[in-house]
């Protein structure tokens, strides 16, 4: 039995997972149009390779990756591209972004695919390229391009692969459902991932509030020698990868570092399945399991939904009562954000759509002054000082914020959850982080501009000096001519006379 450890802090919010009936996958709606944003991941947006009016097949690549940190986008079903324009996308800002809009034709025709059956014989670069071309980004909610994560080993390589089935956030049960229904596929996908990164051990992490999932995974893991299921007590946010590594391996990721620095890699169970399908079947990422839940729905549950399905259609299928629900949240209650335009689509990072009633998730209470109670520091899973970060974020003191390790904050919201004054602490940290990043970028720009300005001053001085030298040379030449007795004016007059005389001779 593997020994597990504990993280500092953490909270125990009500789980409310039974509401979404984990363990059963319902087919999602088939909408009339699919809206596919070019940027469903961290990194550069993809670039369209189809035009308006083109007919596309299911699984066909419609936008290619731009640069190393990017993933392509594929058509989830067959249809015609009707627009490539700005549409509302799931983003905390509520702004729009370029999307490819496909009108489905109902034929359900697919582009031919070919998988790699003997993936064990292939080198890791080929397999990583296959993962990238399949458009796979982290399906746990962060959306980091998986191929880049697989390539991120340091000198000592990756020794442990962790399949992160923790799903600690309340309401969400997508990973629970996937683990119960597709345990064998997860283990097979994990084996491929372990082969790609060279890991020796696979840990399948499940929180103890998911006994059915743990049982299913244990059965599946019996076929794989290097895989081991580990269960541990439920606490939010144990699912954060740094926190999970501390629980399972008692190792801490260095401040400002990534798990690869200590030889560990974490992947979501759905991502493992996507990798399996991409490599063995050649299938790109076109659907995902999303938890659709909340008391404003009459039929909540986990649905297999096509990427690009408008959230409106998804909620409609689940029996959304818009008068009962006060808002719709993309993501979970701790780390999600409210969405206003329900036409926006489901994207690769949509692990949950939450439609609570006003009683279920009441609007935030008015903010009161900080009473310096210190509950936030007790709850922080990263062992930071949220109170100090709050004061310095208000004062915009970048130096102190960095000294207090602001960038190690995982924005889990545990501090804001326990705050008796209802201060929206995470908003302060997010704002501070972007201010600091902006300031750093501005500094780089201004240093560059100063360099260009000084180079230009030097260039002007050089040109002025060169002019001076030429002028001095001309003056010296003129003086030399004058000194030798020549009168340039007289010489010019005589030359003109001679020319005129010659001209008269020719004429006459």
């Amino acid at each position: 039995m593997r020994q597990i450890h504990d993280i500092h802090g953490g909270i125990h919010p009500p789980e409310r997972k039974e509401l979404s009936r984990p363990g059963k996958v319902i087919d999602g709606p088939v909408p009339a149009q699919l809206i596919l944003p070019l940027s469903q991941h961290i990194g550069a947006p993809a670039s369209p390779i189809v035009a308006v009016g083109d007919h596309v097949l299911g699984g066909q690549m419609i936008a290619e990756a731009q640069g190393p940190v990017s993933v392509p986008v594929h058509a989830p079903n067959s249809g015609t591209v009707v627009a490539i324009e700005s549409r509302a996308v799931p983003h905390a800002s509520g702004m729009s972004d370029t999307c490819i809009v496909i009108e489905l034709d109902g034929e359900d025709t697919w582009a031919p695919t070919s998988g790699i059956a003997d993936w064990r014989e292939h080198n890791r670069l080929e397999l990583m390229n296959c993962v990238r071309q399949a458009g796979i980004a982290g399906l746990g909610g962060a959306g980091f391009p998986t191929a880049i994560k697989l390539a991120s080993d340091r000198d000592q390589g990756i020794h442990t692969l962790i399949i992160n089935g923790t799903e600690c956030e309340p309401y969400i049960s997508a990973d629970d459902t996937v683990m119960q229904c597709y345990a064998d596929e997860i283990v097979a996908g994990a084996e491929i991932l372990a082969h790609i990164v060279g890991a020796e051990t696979i840990l399948l992490a499940v929180e103890d509030n998911k006994p059915d999932a743990a049982a299913a995974m244990t059965t599946a893991a019996m076929n794989c020698e290097m895989a081991e299921v580990v269960t541990f007590p439920t606490k939010y946010p144990s699912g954060g990868e740094k926190q999970l590594i501390e629980i399972l391996l008692n190792a801490q990721v260095p401040s400002g570092g990534i798990p690869a620095d200590i030889g560990v890699l974490c992947q979501n169970p759905s991502t493992a399945i996507a990798v399996l399908e991409a490599i063995t079947l050649g299938k790109p990422l076109t659907t995902r399991i999303t938890t659709v839940t909340g008391e404003a729905l009459s039929d909540p549950g986990n649905r297999r939904v096509m990427l690009g399905t408008p959230i409106k259609d998804l909620l409609g299928q689940a029996g959304f009562d818009s008068t009962a629900g006060n808002r719709v949240i993309h993501g979970g209650p701790m780390m999600g954000f409210a969405v206003t335009d329900l036409n926006m689509p489901v994207v690769k990072i949509t692990n949950c759509v939450l439609a609570p009633t006003a009683d279920e998730l009441p609007p935030p209470q008015p903010v009161q002054p900080c009473i310096r109670c210190g509950h936030c520091a007790e709850a922080c899973p990263a062992s930071l000082l949220p109170q100090q970060l709050y004061w310095y974020a208000r004062a915009k003191d970048h130096e102190q914020l960095e000294r207090h390790n602001l960038f190690d904050c995982i924005e889990c919201g545990a501090c804001a959850y326990v705050c008796p004054s209802h201060i929206p602490l995470v908003q302060y940290y997010r704002s501070a982080k972007s201010s600091i990043k902006d300031a750093q970028q501005e500094k780089v720009r201004s240093d560059n501009s100063r360099g260009r300005f000084e180079a230009r001053q030097e260039r002007l001085e050089r040109e002025a000096a060169a002019k001076e030298v030429k002028r001095a040379a001309r003056k010296a030449a003129a003086e030399a001519r004058a000194a030798s007795g020549e009168d340039p004016v007289q010489a010019a007059i005589e030359r003109a006379k001679a020319k005129k005389a010659q001209q008269e001779r020719v004429d006459s």
Partner: protein, 202 residues
């Protein structure tokens, strides 16, 4: 002479004090020569905080002259492109009170870059000569264009253009440049009743 001094206490006292003064004074003179300071490294530190747009809105012909003026004691609130953040950073460095931007020198605007409407450009090179960071590419009678990544938004190229074909457009737009605003920056929770804004009833 020593007897004279010993017998006259006042003279003795005066001699003692003057003697000490002379000794210490020469020590100090020595030290002042040894600890001579040349150059002004403080203005380098100030210059590295200024935004380097070289626009001249502060009243000085560039950022370095303004940095040297600040080192000599000038006000720190004259730089509109730097805005609040630069004033705060200068106040932190020099341990003075940050003041609001001096409206006489301009107002803080969002970051801008210049954009040449190429259809109207006549290739006169006047804007190229005006740009302090050489961010305009072009030559005589050849198309001119602004290298957006190098443009500081100083706006010195707009005036010299004889056909007025240069626009200043916002540099940071769109979803990728959005960032979380600070929650309720002006509505700090009320601690005591006198914090309530002036004009509201109790």
């Amino acid at each position: 002479m020593l007897d004279l001094l010993m017998n006259s206490p006042i003279l003795l006292a005066l001699t003692a004090i003057v003697g000490m003064g002379v000794v210490f004074g020469s020590l100090l003179g020595f030290a002042s020569v040894k600890f001579e300071v040349d150059g002004n490294p403080l203005s380098d530190q100030i210059n590295s905080i200024l935004p380097q747009t070289q626009c001249g809105q502060c009243g000085y012909p560039g950022c370095r002259p303004y940095a040297e003026a600040i080192a000599d004691g000038d006000a720190i609130n004259k730089c509109p492109p730097g805005g609040e953040d630069t004033i705060q950073a200068l106040a932190n460095l020099l341990d003075v009170e940050p003041e609001p931007l001096d409206a006489e020198h301009g107002t803080e605007k969002e970051p801008l870059v210049a954009f040449i409407r190429e259809a109207e450009c006549i290739g006169c090179t006047k804007c190229i000569q005006a740009c302090p960071v050489d961010a305009i590419l072009g030559a005589a009678k050849v198309m001119h264009t602004v290298i957006a990544d190098e443009c500081t938004g100083c706006d010195l190229c707009v005036e010299p253009c004889p056909v007025d074909c240069i626009d200043m457009v916002a540099r940071k737009t769109g979803i990728r440049h959005w960032s979380w605003p600070l929650p309720n920056p002006h509505n700090s929770p009320l601690v005591i009743a006198s914090d309530r804004p002036v004009g509201e009833a109790a």
